[in-house]
């Protein structure tokens, strides 16, 4: 029986509407990205700079984290350390409870999705309102995000109209984007105005100054980070950059790679608290949740350099067909296929490293040059070494290795393959081969050649 990615992909592949939505969306963003990247003659240098900066941060992460804590504290903020998701959720819940509020607004934050903060707060009787338009759509639909940057990429306008008609109480809504946005705006503005607590993620956190940076397109994030009295920011420990000037590199790499824009519409930066301006209480929750384990893996650690641009999703032939839900993680696509198994363990997400044809398109577009195929292959090695690969596969691969270890056995195997395949050959092709149905269900297979190359060579 199929489990994990192949099973989830089966459902997605059968959904024609989803396939069409995904094709249009990924191809549109792909083309936009290509055109804005092409116009930068120094793109490769920028990528190299991004990679080098992230490497430096990861190598000295212990120092940078302490430096960041000190800077935030100096600027009037409070830093909390969370070993795992549960601890982070507990910290945030306590902070919200202390304000006495029952509703908080949240700006799109993958990290808080990763630790299922909304669910945790709900059990405490605290409502979280997602304020990113696409996240709001997912929340109203009761679905998870299916794309890092475009969480509702799996939905088209008509589907969103129907959802808003039902959930926002606007029965006459059309599928015009302007009308859809207006309905969401009215719904959200009310929440912004009454919210006293906000939760945000962070794209970057500057060690030297304690500055936090959020990059977004709608301005809803800025409402969250400026209007409420209390702001709680949840940051993965890998999000640090050394100094403010390093943002120069990332603020060029990120929008071009993600939305295909030269610059994103809203870049919010804040440092601690400023009397009379913006939130007067500021908390940062620094989250580990498996990240130091990733850091300990020499090959895998480059995964932590990810700036969540999602360029790898948009070019991935697998993601384009299956969409994000098949990855069963807040981090879908190629980056999810390497990040999720490292955060959750290869025993829990062992099918994800195999959810790739290793075509290398992801590595080619990655703005910080994460060699995703290299990490995928590395993690496949861990899956085999740490257990969840099947016994049958193990036996077959060992047998094959034994065959390849000797020319004589290899020639014998070719002969056996020719004989064994003979009953299945029809018109020079194998249309059905027991044990290899996964291949022959959709593709013919050539039989072992009547004369292998080495036979031809020795007969010359």
């Amino acid at each position: 029986m199929k489990q994990g990615f192949p099973a989830a992909a089966h459902d997605a592949l059968g959904n024609e509407q989803l396939r069409r939505n995904l094709w249009v969306a990924t191809h549109t963003i792909r083309a936009k990205r290509a055109s804005v990247v092409e116009e930068r003659a120094d793109w490769e240098e920028l990528r190299e700079a991004g990679r080098a900066l992230k490497r430096r941060v990861l190598r000295h992460l212990d120092d940078y984290l302490l430096q960041f804590e000190e800077a935030v504290t100096r600027a009037g903020g409070t830093v909390h350390w969370a070993r795992d998701g549960a601890e982070a959720c507990r910290v945030v819940a306590e902070l919200v409870r202390a304000t006495g509020e029952r509703e908080v607004v949240k700006v799109k934050s993958l990290t808080t999705d990763e630790i299922r903060l909304n669910d945790a707060l709900a059990t405490d009787g605290i409502d979280v309102v997602e304020t990113d338009l696409a996240e709001l759509i997912c929340q109203l639909a009761g679905e998870g995000s299916s794309h890092i940057l475009v969480p509702a990429i799996h939905k088209n306008r008509v589907e969103i109209r129907d959802l808003f008609r039902e959930r926002l109480g606007v029965p006459d809504l059309s599928e015009e984007p302007r009308e859809l946005a207006e309905a969401a705006r009215l719904h959200l503005r009310e929440r912004f105005l009454r919210a006293r607590v906000a939760i945000s993620g962070a794209n970057f956190a500057v060690a030297e100054t304690g500055t936090v940076c959020v990059v977004e397109s709608e301005g809803n994030g800025r409402f969250c980070t400026t209007l409420p009295d209390t702001l709680i920011t949840v940051v993965g420990i890998e999000k640090l950059v050394p100094a403010p000037e390093d943002l120069e590199v990332f603020l060029q790499l990120l929008p071009r790679s993600s939305t295909g824009e030269r610059m994103n519409p809203y870049t919010s930066l804040w440092t601690g608290v400023t009397p009379g301006d913006g939130p007067q209480t500021f908390h940062v929750v620094l989250l580990d949740a498996g990240r130091t384990d990733v850091l300990a893996d020499e090959v895998g650690r480059q995964t932590l350099a990810c700036i969540r641009c999602s360029a790898c999703l948009n070019v991935c032939p697998v993601y384009e067909r299956t969409g994000g839900h098949a990855y069963d993680s807040v981090y879908p696509g190629p980056i999810g296929a390497i990040l999720t198994p490292q955060l959750q363990g290869v025993d829990r997400a062992g099918t994800l490293p195999y959810a790739s044809s290793l075509c290398g398109a992801c590595y080619e577009v990655c703005p910080v040059k994460i060699d995703i195929p290299e990490v995928l292959v590395h993690l496949r090695g861990r899956v085999v070494a740490e257990g969840p690969s099947s016994r049958g596969e193990r036996a077959a691969m060992r047998l094959l290795a034994w065959v390849f270890a000797s020319e004589r056995r290899y020639r014998l195997a070719q002969r056996l393959g020719r004989l064994g395949g003979r009953p299945f050959v029809r018109g020079g092709r194998i249309r059905r081969l027991p044990g290899l149905g996964a291949w022959t269900d959709t593709r013919d297979l050539p039989p072992v050649a009547r004369q292998t190359f080495r036979q031809w060579w020795s007969s010359r």
Binding site: P6, P317, Y354, S357, E364, L379, F404, P446, A449
Partner: protein, 240 residues
């Protein structure tokens, strides 16, 4: 030049015409081709499926078999990519093995690299009176970065009409064990590739990897299409 052929286990066993064609074109150009029969598999299948120690043993075998060759050519970009990009990692921790890999890897070339880049050729004296579209396989594009080399060689073939493949740089969905482990996703990717191949109106779809041709050809054959697949070497070996 004395050129040692790495036939690859796949071409040897199910697509020998790609390998015999490689021999023919190199000999026609006046080179001496040798075949070392102790060779088997480069280890890519094991490496990419997660069987690292098995792959390392096959890498050792490859280095032992080909270590003293002047130049090694293979009719497969992905097998060459395995040697050039991954053997160093497999050798890590064994300095002698690392040195052998470092010395050998740069001398292992894919056919179009050898012909166009190393030997500086475009016209290899081939004639092929057909409409051909070329699928630049992922590993020739993104691992070896062979770029224009195969196109230059194909354009110089007499009688050949080369037609552009839409979305050429997209994967065909093969990916080794991916084609079986994620058969449905693989087939969905393949369906688009095959549609693009048919759109070109070409009689022949060519590529530098027998593995991708196995995938594309398998679907064309299943669909009863008249479009056939051919390895780049077969076209370059063809004569009027």
């Amino acid at each position: 030049m004395r050129i040692s052929l790495f036939v690859t286990c796949l071409a040897d066993t199910v697509a020998p015409e790609a390998a015999t064609a490689t021999v023919r074109v190199l000999e026609r150009l006046g080179h001496e081709v040798e075949f070392r029969p102790e060779q088997t598999c480069c280890g890519q299948l094991h490496l990419n499926t997660g069987y690292r120690s098995e792959a390392a043993a096959l890498a050792r075998r490859f280095v032992r078999v080909f270590g003293d060759a002047e130049v090694v050519v293979a009719p497969s970009a992905s097998c060459v990519g395995t040697v050039r990009d991954h053997y160093a990692g497999l050798a890590e921790g064994d300095p002698a093995f690392e040195r052998e890999v470092a010395a050998l890897a740069p001398r292992v070339l894919e056919l179009s690299e050898l012909l166009a880049d190393r030997l500086g050729l475009e016209d290899v004296g081939a004639a092929f009176q057909h409409r051909v579209t070329y699928h630049p396989t992922c590993h020739s594009l993104r691992m070896l970065r062979v770029g224009e080399a195969p196109y230059r060689l194909l354009r110089a073939v007499r009688g050949l009409e080369l037609v552009d493949l839409p979305e050429a740089s997209e994967c065909c969905g093969f990916g080794g064990t991916f084609a079986v482990k994620n058969a449905e996703t693989s087939a969905a990717i393949l369906a688009d590739k095959v549609r693009h191949v048919k759109e070109t109106g070409a009689e022949v779809c060519a590529a530098a990897d027998s593995s991708c041709l196995l995938q594309i050809g398998g679907a064309l054959s299943r669909a009863g299409s008249r479009v056939r697949t051919a390895h780049l070497a077969e076209i370059l070996a063809a004569e009027a």
